[in-house]
């Protein structure tokens, strides 16, 4: 398939279709409207179903129903809408239903603004809804990667019976870049024998449920979920290292911010500062090991985010006090500039 120049939101939608997703339930909110708009055009062409729900709350519960019925299903929204979906996401996690949720993050809290942000990191990686659960959270930093991650997200969701989130910022949603759709490496995905499809007596009766009123049973379910999260940590943690072989300073950044950091690292190297980047591609599970290892090599870390400092907490946990971990954040919907990051690197080097 030839490369196509596509907007991030549209590439995300097309990737879902290519991955066999035939059900999409959404609700308008900027800056992700191109996802439902694209789906509304495309789904009828592939005998799929696009439905605009009456609210984000309804949309995520339609996802629950379709996922429970055994289908590949997706919804997308932006920060305030994702907050509304949290109840449903928590139920989906407990009912062990596979689905993909896209968050094109805008600024917050509250209605905030519609410009890019990474302020939903805590919400995405630390729960978001109530209870002990985790989403698998993939954070693309290019349109190609967004497409690749969406396609793999469905496989990951099916494999572990767990919701997967695509965490992109407004930049990923709005930007156009060349993209090609590749099927992800083949996985052994178990058949959905648990799905509610109408019961003919040849299997166990399907009960899609998140209510476990007896503590003994709830404990078993909780243990099962936690074991699965451990398995996901082992198998699905993804990280990219850039010029880390001889790095003395390490930038931690994900998504669009990591691209800006690359420009900064290249400038720094021209000035003789040996900098590199560790970019988590999965922000949950967080690639702690990569940071832990780097802590023995580098002199210091600089975490760069479009937030007041959220991922930096995970970086500090991983580095565990071995080396200083500084933070540089921009908020309001602005992107950090390569020069501003470079300046912070110089400060880190000079121990300021």
């Amino acid at each position: 398939m030839a490369k196509k120049l596509m907007k991030g939101s549209e590439a995300i939608a097309e990737a879902a279709i290519q991955a066999g997703c035939r059900y999409f339930f959404g609700y308008p909110i900027t800056p992700q409207n191109e996802v439902p708009e694209y789906m509304s055009r495309r789904m009828p062409q592939v005998d799929g179903c696009f439905l605009q729900a009456e609210s984000e709350v309804a949309a995520i519960n339609m996802v629950y129903g379709a996922a429970g019925a055994g289908a590949r299903v997706m919804t997308s929204s932006s920060s305030p809408g994702i907050s509304l979906k949290q109840e449903g996401i928590s139920y989906i996690a407990c009912a062990e239903l596979p689905c993909v949720v896209v968050n094109i993050v805008r600024t917050g809290p509250g209605l905030g603004g519609i410009q890019p942000s990474q302020g939903d990191y805590f919400q995405a990686t630390k729960g978001g809804g109530h209870g002990d659960y985790h989403l698998v959270v993939l954070a693309p930093s290019s349109i190609q990667e967004a497409a690749d991650m969406v396609m793999e997200a469905f496989d990951i969701a099916d494999m572990y019976r767990n919701p997967v989130m695509i965490l992109g910022d407004g930049m990923i949603g709005q930007m156009m870049e060349p993209v090609e759709f590749h099927q992800p490496p083949k996985r052994e995905i178990p058949e959905k024998t648990w799905a509610a499809t109408g019961w003919d007596g040849t299997r166990e009766r399907a009960i899609i449920n998140s209510l476990y009123i007896e503590p003994e049973v709830m404990q078993v379910v909780s243990d099962r979920l936690q074991k699965r999260y451990e398995l996901i940590k082992q198998n699905e943690t993804r990280v990219e290292e850039y010029k880390m072989e001889d790095a003395e300073y390490c930038i931690a950044a994900y998504g669009t911010t990591a691209r800006v950091a690359k420009s900064a690292v290249n400038k720094a190297r021209e000035m003789g500062i040996k900098a590199g980047i560790i970019r988590p591609k999965t922000v949950w599970p967080f690639p702690s090991e990569a940071f832990c290892k780097a802590a023995d090599q580098v002199k210091g870390f600089l975490t760069v985010e479009m937030s007041a400092g959220q991922m930096v907490e995970d970086v500090r946990l991983a580095v565990n006090g071995k080396k200083p971990v500084e933070f540089y954040g921009v908020m309001g919907g602005f992107l950090p500039t390569p020069n501003a990051i470079l300046e912070k690197l110089i400060q880190l080097k000079e121990g300021k």
Binding site: K3, L5, T30, P31, G113, I114, Q115, G170, M171, Q174, M175, M176, E177, P178, T256, R259, V260, A261, K262, S263, N266, G333, L335, T337, P338, N339
Partner: protein, 178 residues
């Protein structure tokens, strides 16, 4: 090779398309490209802009601060982006709608009467293509043939009859800066 540009003007002047055509062409010539539109608050006052990066290397920051080139299709765009041209860079001004001269002296400035030329060609909507003609002539960032091919793909069979006029617009724009 790393080429970073900003295209700005009124909504409806085709500045986003101008950028997209550059990005498409760059992609078809085997380069890495990115196209980033402004959205939201920056749209107030009816101005639209996008940034395009064409590069041999993987593209880092998609945001352009020091542009190699800026295209200003209207007065507010010139006011806003003149200072974003890197020293030694190029500034393309649509002189049909902008009656003032550039203030900078450390850059190359070209004045192209895009709307007048487009009107002479019989379609005011190709003003952006006239501008592209001048742009390609001076930057050589992509070949005009590649761009015409992209335009053919974008317009499709139904609007294929518009291609000759667009070719003419590219040529006239190029002649302007000869």
């Amino acid at each position: 090779m790393l080429h970073q540009m900003i295209s700005a003007g009124f909504g409806g002047q085709g500045v986003l398309l101008l950028g997209q055509l550059l990005a498409y062409s760059g992609m078809n010539e085997g380069k890495n490209v990115s196209w980033l539109p402004s959205y939201g608050p920056e749209m107030r006052g009816g101005t639209a802009n996008c940034t395009v990066i064409i590069s041999d290397e993987e593209i880092g920051s998609p945001v352009v601060v020091d542009a190699d080139c800026v295209v200003a299709m209207n007065r507010p765009s010139l006011d806003k982006y003149e200072n974003n041209v890197a020293p030694g860079g190029k500034l393309f001004i649509n002189s049909s709608l902008i009656d003032q001269k550039a203030k900078r002296t450390d850059i190359e400035v070209y004045y192209i009467p895009c709307n007048e030329i487009a009107d002479q060609l019989g379609n005011s909507r190709v003003a952006n293509i006239v501008m592209l003609g001048a742009y390609l002539k001076k930057t050589g960032v992509v070949k005009p043939e590649t761009l015409i091919k992209c335009l053919e793909e974008k317009l499709g069979k139904k609007k294929a009859h518009l291609i000759p006029m667009n070719e003419e617009a590219l040529k006239k724009g190029a002649e302007c800066v000869d």
